[in-house]
Amino acid sequence: MNSKTASQPIAMVQTPITSPAASFSVGGLFRRPEAGAFLGLFGVFVFFLVFGSLEFLKPAGAASWLNVAANLGIVAFPIGLLMIAGELDISIGSMIPAGSMTVAIISGYYGLPIWIGIAASLGLGVFVGLVNGFLVVRTNVPSLIVTLGTLFAVAGLVLGLSVLLTGTTSVALKAPELAKFFFGQFVANTFQVIIFWWLALTALYIYVIHYSPYGNWIFAMGGDRVSARNAGIPTAKLTIALFVLSSTSAAFVGMCQAILFNSAQVSAGMSFIFNSIISVVVGGVLLTGGFGSIVGIFFGTITFAVVNQGIYFTSFDRNWSSLIIGVMLLLAVLMNNTFRSMALSYSPKKK
């Protein structure tokens, strides 16, 4: 009886494998995670062109917001990936000054070769990232709390050590030409070289997250961690790697700033915490994980930087810029929610 049923012809339709028709449509664009960020950026540009002046698109003007965007953007990408994976890292706020103080104390105060300072700075980033990652994976403490702890611990450590070792909270650093060239020059006298790092990293992240198979793992982990683990994704290792990435990126930005400005201060990074979260959320990443895109974070960062700097090109008092950022954040979140539910309810036309 068994063999008889098994040999019956398959009743179900055997559909041939077809690839869906080339899927470019305006509707399709709006269902992408970066749709809101793109519209937001457009709106912000129009706003500052109307109330400000064309100056802000000319090289000197563009440099002002590109510099902000690049420094912020390098940190915003890993913060966004962590958020997609369902985690947060606010310890970057003290990793940026920690990165710059490390290179300044080692290579500026003690005069060791700059490469040792750079390696130590990035090494500290890797170490703090490992601590964050292991604590989050091993304990079940939410990453917001874990990184709140390391935020304060690292800030205190940097302040204490720099006063102990150098007797001050601000250390000068004279980097050699080559290091300046790569990490701390002004291209054409206005553009920080870190802009090029940011653009290169954008391309790299787009490849890894949206084209290589690994990006899928991060989205799966943020969507449903247990199912992702059962599907064979090394969720613990991936989480730790993302924390290492964010701390090291923050240390990198701090290191570049120290080399660029020839000095490092103990307190120079807390604003990055909120600014990177705003950029990421404006960029369409879902705070609870599982949804977002690199291009969205890229646009979100530029939007933030333009609002932050654009105010100088208008006749408004600069104090208003926080108001604009707040309103923009709320609008962006509402817009992103709308686009996300459009994406969810989307189904091709019924036949």
Binding site: N2, M12, N216, G223, A228, G290, F291
Partner: protein, 275 residues
């Protein structure tokens, strides 16, 4: 009839002092649906978690295809071909159908370090897998999983398990949150999986659903197998009584009638945690 693919012998499982499974012996055969029935707290979920490697039994043995096995974890069980689909399908609501179908085993094209995720292939394979199960309404692999109905999500998860070579398919209350039509869809897919020669373990509280697909029934009462019978050996009423934990439905109805009679026609108020 067929030789069992999975054989449980005298499985016991306790959590500390609480004995949850008591001396369970069961045969799970390919091409058959085994319905696990029983009241709330009878131990059904615990039993399938033991089958799928989440828990280790305290005593007793398992044999898979004649060989003794001990699962080190859910991954171990799933690489050996035991796939579990949980109530909400264990899918990723904000991922596309194609991407979620291939989580962990992404198809790539290109070579060397420049391999890229092959979206077209992933979408095409996922759509074909689910359409072959008769869900022809799903035809765009870029749709997000969260936009599918509950039944479609269950179907997608089952299609995925079958596509990746599951031999034993474990479904924990797949029809629990579904309406009549959606539940019918899922039952059809269960039948299709059986027809393809999989062993299916199916948990449900609905006698109709169990009778629609089951070949073999096992009723758990307080962690022990109270009845083990094949299709056609018991009537619907007998099964219902067993599922209610051995009390006959007639007795329960008599109790309720008695209650209403003594309380001026008000139905009993269920207080506290029900079910």
């Amino acid at each position: 009839m067929a030789t069992p693919i999975l054989k449980l012998k005298n499985i016991c499982k306790s959590f500390g002092p609480i004995d949850v499974l008591n001396d369970i012996s069961l045969d799970i055969c390919p091409g058959e649906v085994l319905c696990l029935l029983g009241d709330n707290g009878a131990g059904k979920s615990t039993l399938i978690k033991t089958l799928s490697g989440v828990y280790r039994p305290n005593s007793g043995t398992m044999e898979m295809e004649g060989q003794p096995v001990e699962f080190t974890g859910p991954r171990d069980a799933s690489t050996r071909g035991i796939a579990t689909v949980h109530q909400f399908g264990g899918t990723f609501p904000l991922m596309s159908i194609g991407r979620s179908f291939f989580v962990g085993v992404e198809p790539t094209k290109g070579w060397g370090p420049f391999k890229i995720f092959d979206r077209q292939k992933a979408n095409a394979v996922a759509i074909k897998a689910i359409q072959d199960f008769g869900i022809t309404r799903i035809d765009d692999g870029d749709r997000l999983v969260g936009g599918l109905s509950g039944g479609e999500r269950q179907s997608l998860a089952i299609a995925r398990a079958v596509h990746f070579g599951a031999k034993v398919l474990i479904l924990d209350e797949p029809t629990a949150a579904l309406g009549v039509k959606q539940a019918t869809h899922v039952l059809r897919i269960v039948n299709e999986a059986k027809r393809r020669g999989l062993a299916v373990v199916f948990i449900t509280h609905q006698v109709m659903h169990a009778m629609a697909v089951g070949d073999h029934f096992a009723v758990l009462i307080r962690g022990a197998i109270a009845a083990d019978f094949r299709k056609g050996e018991k009537t619907r009423e007998e099964i219902t009584d067993l599922m209610a934990g051995g009390e006959t439905m007639a007795e329960l109805e008599a109790q309720i009638d008695g209650y209403i009679a003594t309380h001026d026609g008000h139905a009993p108020q269920l207080s506290g945690a029900a079910g």
